[in-house]
Structure formats: C-alpha cells, structure tokens
Amino acid sequence: MPTRLKPVDVVTIGVGLTGSMAGLELAETGLKVVGLERGGGRDTVPDFQSPAIHDELRFSIRKGMMQDNTKVAVTFRNDSHQTALPIRRWESFLPGQGLGGSFVHWNGQSFRFQVADFIYRTHILERYGKKFLDACGPELTIQDWGVTYDELEAHYDRFDYLCGVSGKAGNIKGQIQPGGNPFEAPRSREYPNPPMKETYFGAIFRKGAESLGYHPYPQPSANLSRPYTNPLGLKLEQCVFCGFCERYACEHYAKASPQTVILPVLLKNPNYELRTNCEVLRINLDSTRKKATGVTYVDAAGQEFEQPADLVLITAFPLNNVRTLLLSGIGEPYDPKTAKGVVGRNYTYQTTGGPTVFMDESINVNPFMSSGAPGTMIDDFGGDNFDHSNLGFIGGQYVGSIMTNGRPIEFHPTPPGTPKWGLEWKRAVAHHYNHTILIQQHGTSTASRLNYLDLDPTYKDAWGQPLLRMTFDFPDNDIRMSQYIADKVVEIGRAMGGKTVVRGGTKRPYTTTVYQSTHNCGGAIMGDDPKTSVVNRYLQCWEVPNVFSLGASAFPQNGTYNYSLTIGATTLWALDAIKTKYLKAPGPLVPA
C-alpha cells in the first residue's frame, strides 16, 4: 500500500518549463504546491560547469540529459498496420529529464506563432475554401485552438521579458519595423534585448536571400545578447558563442532556462516544495471519475506514495502529458478506425530539412563559433505568408542559416559521392569542414486522422505500466509543402555562392533514427468542443475539471515555428485563468 501523504493544494507532474512556471505563479497566491520531477535536481553550479559540460560524447551522442529510456521509452511505428517497437536510442526527438526539463537543453530559438496559426481551420477555409482543404488531403484534421493570438499577446510579451529574448521586432502594433520580420504577428513592444550579433554564415545567407527579394531578419534568441535582469530580479549574462547549446546546459547564465529565469525565486518560496527522482504513475480519480484526488508516485528508493491534492497540473514533456492522461483514464482514448475519442488525437511534429551549401575554400565559416539561435532567417515561406491557391498544399516553413555548432563528432558535411568511411571520407571532411553552410527549412506539421498516440499493447516501463505508442508519418500535404520550398531554398544556396548545393526537404517515411526536432505536439489538444479536444481553451480537462494539461500537447497542430515561446504564452494564459477564475470558483471554466 502506498504511503498517504499530507494533502496539498496543487501538485505538478514534472518540473520543467511549465511546471516551474506553474509553481511560481500558484505558490505566490499562497497555495501549497508540490513539484514532482522524475529526474534529479541540477543547477548551473556545479552541474553545468566547463569543461565537463562540453562533453560531446556524453551529451550529444549518449543523450546525457534526456529521458532515461531504459526505464521509460516510447514505441513507434509509421502506420497502424505495423507493430510498434520501442525507441531504445533517442535520435529524432530528445525529451529532457531532470529539473528544468527540456528547457535546459533547448537552443533558445524564440519565435511566436502567427495570428492565423490559432484560427488555422477558419483561416484556411476563409482564404481557400473547403474544396481546397479536402484536396490537400481528406485525412487532414486541422483545428482552431479556441484561443486567439490577441488573447495571448500579453502572455507572449510577459514570457519574452521573463526570458530576456534578444531580437528585432518586425511588427509593433501593426507598424512594420525595418530590420525585423515583416511577417510576424504584431507585438506590443520591442524585444527586451537587441538581437545577437550576426554570424558570418548568417551574413552570407542574408546577402543571398536579399538578392532574391526575400526579407532576412535576425533569429530571436533566448541566449542573450547582453547582461539582463528579468522582472523577477534574476540576472542573466551574455552569450559567448561557445557552440554547446542544444543538448547542453549553459555554464554562463546566458540561456533562459528554469535554472536562470524562474527556479532561484521559486525554490525560496516556503509554499513550494520540490521533490526530485519521483516518478508519477497516475492521477487518482474519485468514484465519479470526474474529480482528481491527487497522484500516486514512486520515489528513488522505490517507495510508493499517494499525494492528495485539490488541483493536479500535468506539466511533463508533451508525450508524457498524453501518457499520463491515458494511464489515469482521463478522457476517451482516440480510435483511428472510428475517428472517435480525443486523447492521443492530432499528434503532430515538425517538418524539417534544408540544403547543404558547399562554399569555396576561401570562405571560412567557423561554425564552431555559434549559439543555439544564431540564425539569419526569412519568413517569406512561413505558415500562410504566401499564396497557396495554386500549390495544392497548406502550411509552410521558415528558412534560415542556423548553424548551432561545429562540434567534431556531429558536424562533418561531405558532398554527394564521398565514400561513407575511410581515407577519402577523412580527406573530404577536412576539406569541407570549415567551408560548408547548412540552411534549415523548418515548419508546419499538419494534423491527420492517421497519426495518433495510444498505449502500447506489448511493451511496459520499469514500473510495469504500458509505454506510449506513437503512430506517425508525414501526410503527403507536408511532403509537397516541404519539397516546394526546397526548390526555393536551393536558389538561395546558389545566390549565396554555393559551389555545390545539395537539395533538402522532408521525405517519407518519417524515421526516428535521425534528429529532426523535439517539437512533439498534440495528443491532448485544446479546443471549443469536447468531442474534438481534451482540454478547453484554458487547458482544463473537459472530463476532470481539477486537472489541467499544460504545454504543447495542447496544440491542435504545430505551426511553422519552434514552439517553446508558445508553450510559455499558453501556460501563462492558463495560469492566469486558474488564478483569476478557477480559484474563485473551482469547476469547469467553460461549459461543456
């Protein structure tokens, strides 16, 4: 029998970005909050110090900061006729583990989504009509979010300033700003910090893109361009372009992470208690199954505990939010055959790819001198920024030269025709290492009724519970979109002076053995209708109103951009609703 602990007001399942923000906001109101983190505690000192933190083998190759998949893996298959197998080595996406979660090893690429992203279905139907959307793919299940950009703007703004995002605004209250992204959604004010210095590869990309009439701008970055004090009084320092950002933690206090922008304040709050190495097994429901009574978890010693709580917030990595709901029996699991049920539905990802541009030997790119968000970008092909009428697909990608590193194990571009090993390969690596520029295409992933998450019937975790099963492949729509943009980007590569430009673009089948993106989305999506969403517009579970599921599992489909800032904004939006509405009258915030 689990040990029953003293009841608390709030428990968060996971203490990453959303968990630490929830802890901060709710402990300040006087509520007793317990944060349960499955990984260990860690901080800048001593855990992120150089030279140990710059261990490429440990962190990039052996995935030292990622979810321990010897205990809890994810099973995968491309379609529902296949048998899913566990992913024993993270490659395609990298869920973090440990205090601070994935927001420790993220790159700091800090975009907002666009106005149309939040009303995606309405927008596409209005601009192109239902026939067009059906022609793009009858299996597509795009949806509106139930919340609009205008409603989120203040929360985006707050999150920008919490993190100290460095960038150049392109649109302030509708006024286009020179130097910024003219396609971005209107923001209420300038970024808290100026953009990062432009890299050499960025400058070459800028020149090439400009010559073709596109609109380059500096990538917004949560690696800071100058020392900064955030509204909580926490100080951040300036990024030094060390080239160890994604998959690593920052030793310089220069990357926004829970450790730098939230936790030092949160952990001092006597209303907050952090418990690390605690694996939550399930959310417990009362006999009506409409009310959560708390959670059951196992600590590092293998002891089982029941932690009663009035309010349960699922604040894990998106995939784990969905799994927690499924393991707890909250919400009807999605059935792809009947298209009924909601939990696991609309799982989406991110389309990636991009060309490799081999430059002349006189161009020394110095890719090792970089940060996590060093890009010079264009948004001319983002989202619905271009007319899709005659293209036969929806969606888009941002394009940019974003080389986050030149680390020796991971970075060795060679042109086509080079042997995969041996002396010729070594010669080619030495020849091209410092004269190659990578361009990224990164963008929308369209929801499809064929892609979903459920519990695996075969494989179990270290505690005997079913693993999450992922069934996913990119819809044809997304391949057409990515391939269309790939042609455009090859032109940019040539305009940059590339001697050889190797075309990119997303292909099928999706594979989990190559890194693409850690922007796993959906599965517990938000919306206006309980038949097609798990949570309402405030991220509150329709079925169990004292459970909220925060984070990107709520996104009905992925927008063009890396989603961290949108997680921040939607989390602050939900927490605001909890503080101003739910706590005053606990119960459904939206009538079902």
């Binding site: 901080d43 110090q49 210095k197 070459i204 020149k207 951040l236 030793e251």
Partner: protein, 237 residues
Amino acid sequence: MICRHLFLAAAAALIPLGLATPAQSQSQAHQVDAKHGAVIAAQGTAAGAPACAQCHAFSGGSDASGAFPRIAGQSAYYLSGQLSDFASGVRESAIMSPVAKALSPDEIADVAAYYAGVKAPFLPLEAAGPALIKQGEGLAKVGDAARKVQSCDNCHGPGGAGEPPVIPYLAGQYAHYIEFTLQMWQKGFRKNSPDAMAVIAKKLDDQEVAAVAAYYQQVHSPLEGTESQGATSPGKD
C-alpha cells in the same frame, strides 16, 4: 570569450572585402616569419619600437616584478590582436601603445608568432596566503552563483590553461598583472572585450581581484615551462 564577439563582428565586417579570416591585418602577401619576430624581440625596429625583450625577456617570461605579463606561448592570434588594439587605442597603455604604434602589421604578425612559439620557465615567486589562494580558486573554478559571476575556467579553460587561439591562458600569469588588467577593465581603460570581461571585472571587489590573481599565479602545469624550444613553426593560428 573575450574576442569571440569581436571575431564575429570583424568577420561580418570583412565580407565585402572577401577576406577569409579576420585576424590577418597584415598585408596579404606577407609570409609570417617568426625568425624575423625573434629579431624584433631582441633588437626592436628601425622605426623606433624598442626590443620586447627589455621587459618581456627573450623567453617571454618577463621578470618577476609582475609589472609585465608573461607572454610566452600565448597564441599568436591573441598577441597580435592585443598589439593591434594597443595601436588603435581600444586598449590603452602608456607603455605599450607607442610600442605597438611603431610596429607595422607585418612586424606585429612576426613578433606575435615568435612569442607564441616559445616556452619560458616559471620563476620562483613569493606565494600569497593560503586563504587568499583558496578564495581565488573558488572564483576561478566555480564563480559565485549568487551574483552570476561565471567561473573564470568556463572560458579560460581548466586551470586557466587558455582556449587558444582566442582566449588567453591565465595559469602562471603574474598576479600583479592579472590584478592590474582587471582594474583596467573596471576603470574602462581596457575596452577590447567590453561586453565580456568588463562586466565580470566590475562585479569583483578588490579582495576578489587579488584572490583570483594570487590563485592563477601559482597554477602551472609541471609539463610546461621547463624548456625553451625557441621559435617553432609560425602560422599555427
């Protein structure tokens, strides 16, 4: 850390010229000649630059007064960058500015290559008190998380060994010099890494400056500085 930003800025600025690397301010045709650098170090130049060895010794070890930094084995990229900054006034020094101004870009490249390739013995020096060294070691290895002072070693390498070519070594550097140059940053006389070192230097009080300086002076690898190999192959930067 110091120069990475400058390096980036310089790289971007140089694109229209089509130059490959930003460090080469000397004429493009110039073949770096460390042997010629050795001559400058020993004799100075006809244009009036005095012999470097007068203060820095031919070995680059300078003298035990600590008034002059140890430059032996410091990267040629770093040394030539500092000389250029002395010449342009980005880094101010009553002693070094006129010397640097008297050197041509080619001569700067040669003499930097010479000192980058030499090793110098460590002179026996009076050690600071163990408590001060301990305090300095803490700042050097861990920093001060409460004030967001990064550990020096995060950029300057384990034990202050340097991260060449951009970031200089601190291990074995004279305490007087480290103290002095941190003060130069605090007071704004040294501006050639304003956004990195100036910010950190201003967070340190006098005792902390002394502590860090005392710590690094007594760190040196037993493998280094035992022999002088003279000028080695230049151009390794």
